[in-house]
C-alpha cells in the first residue's frame, strides 16, 4: 500500500497538510528545519496514501508511493 513520505527540508510550516489530512496522520512539530520553519512528521500507521497532502502542499514536501 502507498504511503506518504516527507522531505521536511522543503517545509515552510504552513500546516495546510495537517488541516487537510483526512486521517489526522500528519503531526505538527515544534522542531525547526535549516530554514527555521516548524516541520511536520507522518504517522505511517494512520497514513492511507490518499495523496491529499501532496495536492495541498505548495512546497512539494510530500511523495506518495
Amino acid at each position: 500500500m502507498a504511503k506518504a513520505s516527507a522531505n521536511t527540508e522543503l517545509c515552510k510550516g504552513c500546516r495546510l497538510c495537517v488541516d487537510a489530512c483526512p486521517k489526522q496522520a500528519i503531526i505538527p512539530l515544534e522542531t525547526v528545519n535549516k530554514k527555521g520553519y516548524e516541520i511536520i512528521s507522518i504517522d505511517q500507521g494512520k497514513c492511507i496514501g490518499c495523496g491529499i497532502c501532496y495536492k495541498m502542499c505548495p512546497d512539494y514536501v510530500f511523495t506518495v508511493e
Binding site: A2, A20, Y37, G51, M56, C57, P58, E65
Partner: protein, 247 residues
C-alpha cells in the same frame, strides 16, 4: 494505488511564502505539461511579481515581461514560434489592473496561448495594496486601511464575465482551498494546454489563491476565507467553452 511524485520539471524549491497558492499552481502547470508531453516545447512567460519565482524554479525556457505586459510578450512569442507551447503565469494585479488592455486585446485577437491568472485579491509582492478588480468589499489592505468601501473605491469586478464575451476559446475559474477543487483546477489548466496543442484559440484559467502574508491570516484561515467569501463573489466553474458546454 496512485503514486504522487514532484514533477521533474521543477528543479528548484518554491520561493514563495509558506501557504501561498502560487506553488500549487506551478505544480499543476508542470504536471499538465508533462502529462501532455509538451515540456520540451514549453515557453513560460512570467510577470514582475510573485510569479517571477517560477523563472528560477522551472526547467523551461522562460521570459519575464514588463509588469502587466505578459500577455503581449506571449503574443509575440507565439507569433514567431507557432509550434511552441506558450503559457502565461501571472497575478491578478498584472492581468486585470495594470495589464488589462494587454489581456483584453490578446483575448480579442484570440491568440492561441494559455493564460493562468492567480487571483489572490491583492498586490502581493509590493506589500499588499488593494486590487481594484479583485479585492472584496470590506477587505483591509495597506491602501484601504478601514476596509474597501464601495462608495469611494468602487466595486470588484468578475473579469471572466467580461472576457467570456470576447469570443475566446476557453475561460474557467478554479480554486485551491481543498483537494477536490485543486483537481478541478488541474483539469481546466490541462484543457487550456490541450486547446493550444490542437491550435485552437485563447484559453484563460483564473485560480482563486490565498495570500496569507498580506491577508494577515494563517494559511488555514486564508483557505477558509476563499471558501466562504471570495468564492461567493467569484464563482468557480467554466465560463465559456467554444468546443463544448457553456455556463
Amino acid at each position: 494505488m496512485a503514486t504522487y511524485r514532484k514533477p521533474v520539471s521543477i528543479i528548484n524549491e518554491a520561493g514563495w511564502c509558506g501557504g501561498c497558492g502560487h506553488g500549487v499552481v506551478q505544480r499543476l502547470i508542470t504536471e499538465c505539461l508533462e502529462e501532455l508531453g509538451l515540456q520540451d516545447k514549453a515557453v513560460c512567460v512570467v510577470d514582475i511579481a510573485c510569479s517571477y519565482w517560477s523563472l528560477d524554479a522551472l526547467d523551461y525556457d522562460a521570459i519575464a515581461g514588463p509588469h502587466g505586459r505578459c500577455a503581449a510578450v506571449a503574443t509575440g512569442i507565439k507569433k514567431v514560434r507557432p509550434d511552441s507551447t506558450v503559457y502565461v503565469h501571472a497575478g491578478d494585479g498584472s492581468s486585470y489592473v495594470i495589464g488589462l488592455s494587454e489581456t483584453c486585446y490578446t483575448a480579442i485577437r484570440d491568440i492561441p496561448i494559455t493564460m493562468i491568472v492567480v487571483n489572490n485579491g491583492i498586490f502581493g509582492m509590493t506589500g499588499g495594496q488593494m486590487n481594484l478588480a479583485t479585492t472584496l468589499i470590506g477587505d483591509k489592505t495597506v491602501s484601504s486601511k478601514e476596509g474597501r468601501d464601495a462608495d469611494t473605491m468602487g466595486h470588484p469586478v468578475d473579469m471572466l464575465n467580461i472576457i467570456k464575451n470576447l469570443d475566446v476559446e476557453f475561460a474557467a475559474r478554479g480554486a485551491l482551498y481543498d483537494a477536490k477543487h485543486i483537481d478541478e483546477t488541474k483539469r481546466y489548466i490541462k484543457r487550456g494546454f490541450e486547446n493550444q496543442m490542437n491550435k485552437k484559440g485563447f484559453s484563460i484559467i483564473e485560480v482563486l489563491s490565498p495570500c496569507p502574508t498580506n491577508w494577515k491570516m494563517t494559511p488555514i484561515q486564508a483557505m477558509e476565507k476563499i471558501k466562504n467569501e471570495n468564492e461567493k463573489m467569484f464563482p468557480v466553474g467554466i465560463y465559456t467553452d467554444r468546443g463544448g458546454e457553456t455556463v
